[in-house]
C-alpha cells in the first residue's frame, strides 16, 4: 500500500487542513501581541501544503497562486519601504504611529508587515519545495 492510499493520513490531513490554515492566519494576525509572527505563520501554511502535496502527489493550486502570494508580500514590503523612505528618509519607517485597538490591530502597521512576511514566506516555501521535487523527479 502506498502512502497516498492510507485512509488515516488522508482523512486526518484533509480535516486538519482548514484548521491549520486558520491557525496560520491567527499566528500572523496576533504576532504583535502573542508568540508568533509572519515567518512562523508562513512556515505553518507552507508546511501543510507541502505535506498534502507529498501525500497526494499532485499540486494544490498552481504555481501562479503561490507566486502571486510571494509577489504580493514582496510588493507590500517594497511599498512600505518606499513610502517610509519618502516620508521620513528611512526605509520602512514612519508608520508605527498607525495604532488601533485590540490584540489584532493594536499596531496596524506591524500587522501589515506581518501579513507581507507571511505571504512571502508561505509562497516561497511551497515554490521551493516544488522546484526541489521537480528536480529530483527529473534525475530519477
Amino acid at each position: 500500500m502506498q502512502l497516498k492510499d492510507s485512509p488515516i493520513l488522508n482523512v486526518t490531513l484533509r480535516m486538519l487542513f482548514p484548521f491549520v490554515v486558520l491557525f496560520s492566519f491567527q499566528v500572523f494576525s496576533y504576532g504583535a501581541n502573542a508568540p508568533g509572527g509572519g515567518f512562523q505563520a508562513g512556515v505553518v501554511l507552507g508546511t501543510i501544503v507541502v505535506i498534502l502535496e507529498l501525500l497526494w502527489e499532485r499540486r494544490i493550486y498552481e504555481d501562479g497562486f503561490y507566486r502571486a502570494m510571494e509577489v504580493g508580500g514582496l510588493f507590500l514590503l517594497f511599498a512600505f519601504a518606499a513610502a517610509g523612505w519618502a516620508a521620513t528618509g528611512r526605509p520602512l519607517g514612519g508608520f508605527y504611529g498607525w495604532q488601533g485597538r485590540g490584540g489584532m490591530f493594536s499596531n496596524v502597521y506591524v500587522w501589515f508587515l506581518n501579513l507581507a512576511v507571511f505571504l512571502k514566506v508561505a509562497g516561497s516555501i511551497v515554490l521551493l519545495f516544488r522546484l526541489f521535487l521537480g528536480w529530483r523527479h527529473e534525475e530519477a
Binding site: 509572527g37 519607517g93 508587515l113 512571502k120
Partner: protein, 95 residues
Amino acid sequence: MKRPEREPPPFRSRALAAAAALLVLAVAGFARFGPLSVTVRFHEEVGEFADLARSLNIRNLVTAVYLGPRVLDTFLEALVVVLAVSGMAFVRERS
C-alpha cells in the same frame, strides 16, 4: 544460492557510533559535573525593549525588535528567501 551483496552505508558506522557514544558521555558528564544552576543575570536593555514595545502598543518583545529597529534586517531576510526561489528556478531552467 548467492546472497545479494549489501550496499555499504553512506556513512562510516563505527565513526558514527563513536560520535554517539562521545555525545552520551559528554551529556552524562555535564549532568554529573556541570554547574548545578544557571546564573541569572539581569540585562538593563530589557527595560528599553519594554519601553519600545509600549511605544508601539504591542506586547511581543521579539516582534517589537524584529519589526521595529531591525525591520530593515527583516526586509533583507525576506529578500534572501526570494533570491533562493529565483536561484533555484534559474538553475533548474539551465539544467
